[in-house]
């Protein structure tokens, strides 16, 4: 069963609200929200997000590697949707590799 992107988005949104302490984030976080312009994320916040993703998904989702593929500007302008898609793809790949079935949420 493919990973549920809506469930992942809900989890990521919770993490982002917590990191931003609900300040400066106007309205709902969607797949189209961008890190800097919509969420006011600074680079140090991206590091905080990496820690939360590691705690939640372990090594299945290699966020550090994902981020290393972007430059700092690209990390700031990242769409939440792109991160959700990366996580879903990583989880699907891990499932296919291990033969396990299930979605993360």
């Amino acid at each position: 069963m493919p990973a549920d992107q809506n469930a992942i988005l809900a989890e990521i949104a919770e993490m982002l609200y917590a990191i931003r302490d609900h300040s400066g984030v106007e309205g709902e976080i969607t797949m189209e929200s961008t890190f800097q312009d919509d969420l006011g994320m600074e680079s140090i916040d991206v590091v905080s997000l990496a820690g939360r993703l590691q705690a939640r998904f372990g090594d299945t989702v290699n966020f550090a590697q994902f981020i290393a593929g972007l430059d700092v500007d690209a990390a700031r302008h990242l769409r939440v949707g792109r991160l959700v898609e990366h996580i879903a793809a990583s989880l699907d790949q891990a499932d296919a590799g291990s033969g396990r079935v299930g979605s993360p949420a």
């Binding site: 600074e42 590091v47 430059d71 990390a75």
Partner: protein
């Protein structure tokens, strides 16, 4: 987020481990400590650029926010270079890192690396300094100008800290707090410098990377005079922010150098100081 108590401060630390050895043998990966610069900078500048490539190359990567910066505690006083060196020594002890380490420093972080090596030469296997010089007389002469340049570099609204979106304004507030709320601007230029002979006694391999359009590289001849073993690379056209502006270029300079000259041997996970 992980915090460690070091030198009386709560210090924000991030680590990226190298891939597990296939044999299941205990890891003997050498440690790389990545040190960021002043005021505008946090460990994110390393985390989002070279940290992952260094871990993938087999290094146990440690990053931390300097006192007053990022998520590390911000005391009102104590921002001379020696305070930052004491913090680094205490952090390594707190993390139980006892062997020689590779120090990578950006801007003032590079100066911390040199100052640490001058005080603890046996603890440093190699130094990579990006847009940085050792704490010599000419460094202290230039520091006030560099600091005021850094403040001038901030966007106009920074010191006012007005930003309805919370983005730039939040970062601006943080920078303003460290500049106006601490003794940093006073302490850093008043730092004790290292006698030339202590810098010259740093025997480990040294790599210095400078942006061709920045002024720090003007001091490269002073670096070469004291550290003749240093490899000096200029990245044409780049500014003081070369690490975050051109991370791929910096990576392509740093990684091959670490493998060839910096004592990191692929597959062996052993460090040796080639000059000792």
């Amino acid at each position: 987020m992980s915090t460690v108590l070091a030198n009386g401060l709560s210090v924000h630390v991030e680590r990226l481990a190298p891939p597990e050895p296939a044999s299941g043998a205990p890891s003997t990966a050498p440690t790389a400590v990545l040190i960021h610069g002043l005021a505008l900078d946090t460990l994110a500048s390393w985390y989002l650029t070279l940290a992952q490539p260094l871990a993938a190359a087999g290094l146990d990567v440690v990053m931390y926010d300097l006192r007053g910066h990022g998520h590390t505690e911000r005391p009102a006083e104590g921002y001379a270079l020696d305070d930052f060196v004491d913090d680094l020594a205490a952090l390594l002890a707190a993390l139980d890192i006892t062997g020689p380490v590779v120090l990578l420093g950006n801007s003032f972080g590079g100066t911390i690396a040199f100052a640490y090596a001058a005080r603890h030469p046996e603890r440093v296997a190699a130094i990579v300094a990006v847009e940085a010089v050792p704490p010599i007389a000419v460094w202290r002469e230039r520091m006030p100008r560099w600091l005021s340049n850094a403040v001038a570099y901030l966007p106009d609204d920074t010191l006012a800290g007005i930003d309805g979106r919370g983005g730039l304004g939040r970062r601006a507030r943080s920078i303003r707090e460290v500049i106006t709320g601490t003794s940093l601007m006073r302490d850093v230029p008043a730092s004790r410098i290292s006698p030339d002979e202590h810098i010259a006694a740093i025997g480990c391999p040294v790599l210095c990377v400078y942006g061709g359009a920045a002024t720090v590289g003007d001091l490269a001849p002073d670096v070469r005079r004291l550290l003749p073993q240093a490899r000096i690379v200029i990245v044409p056209g780049q500014r003081h922010t070369v690490l975050v502006d051109e991370p791929d270029s910096v990576r392509d300079i740093v990684l091959p150098w670490l493998l060839q000259s910096g004592g990191l041997h692929r597959g062996h996970h052993q460090l040796a100081c080639i000059d000792q």
